[in-house]
């Protein structure tokens, strides 16, 4: 699969008032989730209310960007920006937040993911710019 396009695309990154502090942390190469001050339940993505205890008090907590591959696609149809080459988007089950599935670029362009394999988040961004996004690479290459 060496014809895969490496790295993430540059579609619209549109932080909102809940998520802006999270994206700011990504730019500093920090992977953080919110932890509820009342019941300690971690949550992601960012929002004000804890769905477990319905309170608003929380703090950011850096966690290891680790997870397992839940699924992936190999995109072969141009829906947006890109150079036309196929690319992989991966769905990751985040280890630090139970029940959290998130998406990212696949940072191992030499091969496709394997179902259930362990992955680690890496901070990625366009050439010449700092990190803006979180991609995923296999723990075992």
């Amino acid at each position: 699969m060496s014809d895969l396009m490496p790295g993430p695309l540059r579609g619209a990154l549109t932080p909102d008032r809940d998520s802006a502090p999270w994206w700011e942390r990504v730019r500093r190469r920090e992977f953080a989730v919110q932890r509820c001050d009342t019941c300690r339940t971690p949550r992601f993505p960012a929002r004000a209310f804890c769905p477990a205890c319905r309170t608003e008090r929380w703090h950011w907590e850096a966690v290891e960007p680790e997870g397992t591959v839940e699924s992936w696609i190999v995109n072969r149809r141009a829906f947006g920006p890109g150079d036309g080459r196929p690319y992989v988007v991966v769905m990751v089950r985040l280890a630090g937040v139970p029940g959290c599935l998130l998406y990212g670029s696949w940072e191992a362009p030499s091969r496709e993911p394997v179902g259930g394999e362990r992955v680690r988040g890496v901070f990625v961004g366009p050439a010449g710019e700092g990190p803006t996004l979180v991609g995923w690479e296999p723990v075992v290459r």
Partner: protein, 373 residues
């Protein structure tokens, strides 16, 4: 109920499409616009609102209307709401419609249009992930990984529904296909090929909802809404459902069946929201027609063909008839229960299930159980 023809380029506005489908539906019922006191639609900023359609047809003061934001997940909710409005006495005759130029104007597949407005988009779009075929393909592969569902299973849905569409004069795609044709169709987003994806269609479809008593006096045999149910769905927020191989239909189904006092075994024909082949498989499981994980083998057994024990998407579905965002599924269910489905009629059909997008992508779903009147 009424339709416009389906095409890839209607050449007219969604307002015109809506008016034409509504006029056809009223004619089918033996009614006129002056009888209409309720209007309802669902849309994603891509179609004519009731506030535009009403005046365009000389319905200037409807006593009830609904302009529901949302995609396929709310398609059946609209009819459920209309039935509630009639039952509550707020309106007597409601027209539910969906008009869409999903190929020539606002491409539903995600090419060449703006991104949807949702906070979740920011966690997806920067990675080149936002189009419905991509999102569904992601869920489909999760199902393949967990349950051994195969491309051949997806292909059997495409092949089976095309065979039904061949008997449907309204269908856009009527040439039969084989499993080899399916496997040879080009990749869109692996594991999906072109023939996993629904059509993008220009067209409109409308349904008339009124009281059972009044319906019995109208031109066509009535169909009864035996149950209407709403449900949640997958979102990307932790704390919610986190099994990508199960949809909100699994939680909704018991509520739906209980309302009608029926079960899956009572369903004679099912129109299951088929934006993609995989959505049929997961709904066969979640609506209780087969055990979890066995949707693929169930389809491969031929069970969902016109001559099978549970004919599914007898019109050809979105994959082959056309895509009117859920409403043409309800219309086909009505047609089967009225007994006017022509060459694709399921003999003795008394109970039909019709379903909305099962709660992926937009975390909501809805469904109807309809019964011959």
């Amino acid at each position: 109920m009424g339709y416009t023809p389906f095409s890839k380029d209607s050449g007219v506005s969604t307002l015109t499409l809506a008016c034409r489908a509504i006029m056809a539906a009223l004619d089918d019922a033996g009614l006129a616009p002056d009888d209409v006191d309720g209007l309802a639609t669902h849309r994603v900023g891509d179609s004519a609102a009731p506030s535009l359609v009403g005046p365009a047809l000389g319905v200037h003061d409807p006593s009830w209307h609904l302009d529901q934001f949302g995609g396929g997940s709310v398609s059946h909710a609209v009819v459920g709401q209309a039935a509630l409005a009639v039952a509550a006495g707020v309106a007597e005759t409601v027209v539910c419609y969906r008009a869409i130029n999903a190929r020539s104007e606002f491409r539903m597949g995600g090419t060449g249009r703006g991104l949807p407005v949702s906070p979740e988009v920011q966690y997806q779009a920067p990675y080149g992930f936002f189009a419905p075929p991509q999102q569904y393909a992601m869920y489909a592969r999760a199902h393949m990984l967990r349950y051994g569902t195969t491309a051949e299973h997806f292909g059997r849905i495409a092949v089976t529904q095309r065979a039904s569409a061949a008997r449907n004069p309204r269908a856009l795609m009527r040439t039969p296909i084989t499993l080899d044709d399916y496997l040879a169709s080009r990749w869109i987003a692996e594991p999906f090929r072109l023939l996993d994806c629904c059509l993008e269609t220009d067209g409109a479809c409308a349904l008339v909802i009124t009281s059972a008593e009044r319906a019995r006096d109208l031109r066509r045999p009535p169909v009864l809404v035996s149950a209407a149910a709403w449900g949640g769905g997958q979102s990307h927020l932790s704390g919610g459902p986190a099994d990508p191989t199960t949809t909100a239909a699994a939680a909704l189904a018991p509520r739906l069946y209980a309302q009608a006092g029926l079960g899956p075994a009572d369903v004679d024909v099912a129109q299951l929201y088929d934006c993609f082949t995989y959505s049929v498989i997961v709904q066969l499981e979640d609506y209780g027609f087969c055990p979890k994980g066995e949707g693929g083998p169930y389809v491969a057994s031929g069970a969902t063909a016109l001559d099978g024990p549970l004919p599914v998407n007898t019109h050809g579905g979105f994959l082959s008839e056309g895509y009117v965002h859920g409403v043409n599924h309800i219309a086909e269910a009505v047609s089967q229960l009225r007994g006017d489905a022509g060459d694709r009629q399921v003999r003795g059909a008394e109970v039909a299930l019709s379903t909305a997008q099962p709660g992926y992508v937009l975390p909501a779903t809805s469904a109807l159980l309809l019964r011959k009147g």
